[in-house]
Symmetry: C2
Subunit: 302 residues, 2 copies
């Protein structure tokens, strides 16, 4: 049964747990007012899909609550927005099962539903002392894209890749499924590496050390950064890569997957015993000196 | 697993279908700016629970996406809001399994998840010619409450019952469960009786006739209405009663349940063959003359 009734009916499969994630995007906070309907739709769905990836879940259904100001409640804007939804929904094979449209300030709220075999989903808790820390893809792309979005006022530039990284971050759903049997803990990078790896540490009662030399930062990000991209890589949000930990007995398997190109990930650090300090994540530079880490968090549009 | 991870894990029961409903409430559209945190929370959750009731589903879990302006992002407002959520969640035995809080114009978006035995949920389609139309409780309470909310600017008055009906409409969850084996079609009254019974007719390819003399309208609603409450009963939204249809072979059973006080519902009309006219719902007065029904819909705050 589709949209039209008061609610949607869903048939779940046996021996699967349901995985539920909600996210809301607000104009001026999570995207600028220059964003197109398609860009907003794409970003909203990708951000939510990334939560499924972090759980190692197979995304299957979603609901969409769209709050629209009068100037956007026209068929042109809606067609553009719907095109973005349709494209990503098709790409990830998920079905829109409900939702509503209301009048008000532009807000997109989604709930994604996925499935994972009982007991096999990935969680933040589970990292243990001696585990190795990995990150998929490259870091800092989202922050670099945000910088471009903020400065060029929506006009395209040569750095299309980074704009795309901001508006259409690629949710690492396939890698999340692959990591079910491999990772001891997993999270997606939405608030920045330091903050999100910190969430793993907090949930797992451990600390982490990461090495700046090992952080994967793309050449075009280094080009437009003043500090070789280090701050964006550490604190920039919206990368939507997966940060995961691997126990010693599975390290060989992961490195083999990486070596033969079946998994795009980089080893960036290790898990240690939590000490009394507030710093859950220690960052060491090329000379093994600690880098000052202040909790600057992620700078939204607000 | 609770809130804190990127998503929540839910264990569904075998042989149940999952029922999913989403609703968004926006300040100035669905509630006035004078509403308290608790009133907003209560109303948002009750409106969503009503969708579950209309499906004959047992509500079990919900997610909450709260967008808050800076003036409300304080512990006092949040404590009040949380108290409203906690009270209704406890009353209906549902668990908050996820959500997020973002900065922006006041918007409450919820997704409710419920369960119904496979094939037993209620739907809009299913009404057949010869069925009888019923409504639970009384009609027009929501519109009368809205009128009070709009005129008294949030100050309490003697008409507390109607204010309560607006801010805390009682979702007919128990009756929804009871109707699984009884109703041929069901909907909750959120847009007004004419509009919502029209939805049943449209989904079922039938028409309906209702009788003004049989509409249950409370005395306090008649008191403050200029027309004995008829317009509010027909067009007022936000009643969150259930309108349902019953086939001839089950009519005796329903009337028996009503007579012995096990079901609070009134017989208000019949289901007929759809004709070529646009009017899906015909309204007849005490002399069996048709009442002019214009599609005025429901007047929100916007």
């Amino acid at each position: 049964m589709g949209i039209g009734d008061d609610a949607a009916l869903i048939n779940t499969r046996p021996n699967q747990q349901l995985v539920v994630a909600s996210d809301t995007l607000v104009e001026g906070v999570h995207f600028p007012s220059t964003a197109t309907g398609k860009q907003i739709a794409t970003r909203a769905l990708c951000v939510n899909l990334s939560d499924m990836a972090a759980m190692g879940a197979q995304p299957r259904w979603f609901t969409l609550a769209l709050t629209l100001p009068k100037d956007k409640a026209n068929s042109l804007w809606l067609a553009d927005f719907s095109a973005g939804i349709a494209e990503i929904a098709q790409q990830f094979d998920i079905a829109l099962v409900g939702g509503d449209t209301t009048s008000g300030p532009l807000t997109v709220s989604m709930t994604l539903l996925g499935e994972a075999p009982s007991g096999e989903s990935l969680q933040r808790a589970g990292a243990a002392v001696g585990d190795t820390v990995f990150i998929t893809g490259t870091l800092g792309d989202g922050a670099a894209g945000l910088k471009l979005v903020s400065t060029i006022n929506g006009k395209n530039s040569d750095s299309d890749r980074l704009l795309q990284r901001f508006y259409a971050p690629h949710p690492q759903v396939e890698i999340g499924l692959q990591l079910r049997a491999i990772a001891s803990a997993c999270i997606d990078i939405s608030d920045g590496l330091i903050a999100d790896l910190g969430h793993i540490c907090q949930s797992s009662n451990v600390a982490a050390t990461i090495y700046t030399e090992q952080l994967p930062i793309a050449a075009d990000v280094r080009d437009i950064a003043s500090d070789n991209g280090l701050n964006w890589a550490l604190f920039g949000g919206d990368d939507y890569q997966l940060c995961f930990t691997v126990s010693a007995d599975k390290l060989d398997k992961v490195e083999q997957l990486i070596d033969c190109g079946e998994l795009t990930a980089s080893k960036i650090g290790t898990i240690n015993t939590a000490d009394d300090s507030d710093n859950l994540v220690t960052v060491l530079d090329r000379d093994n000196n600690p880098v000052a880490v202040n909790k600057q968090g992620y700078d939204h549009f607000g």
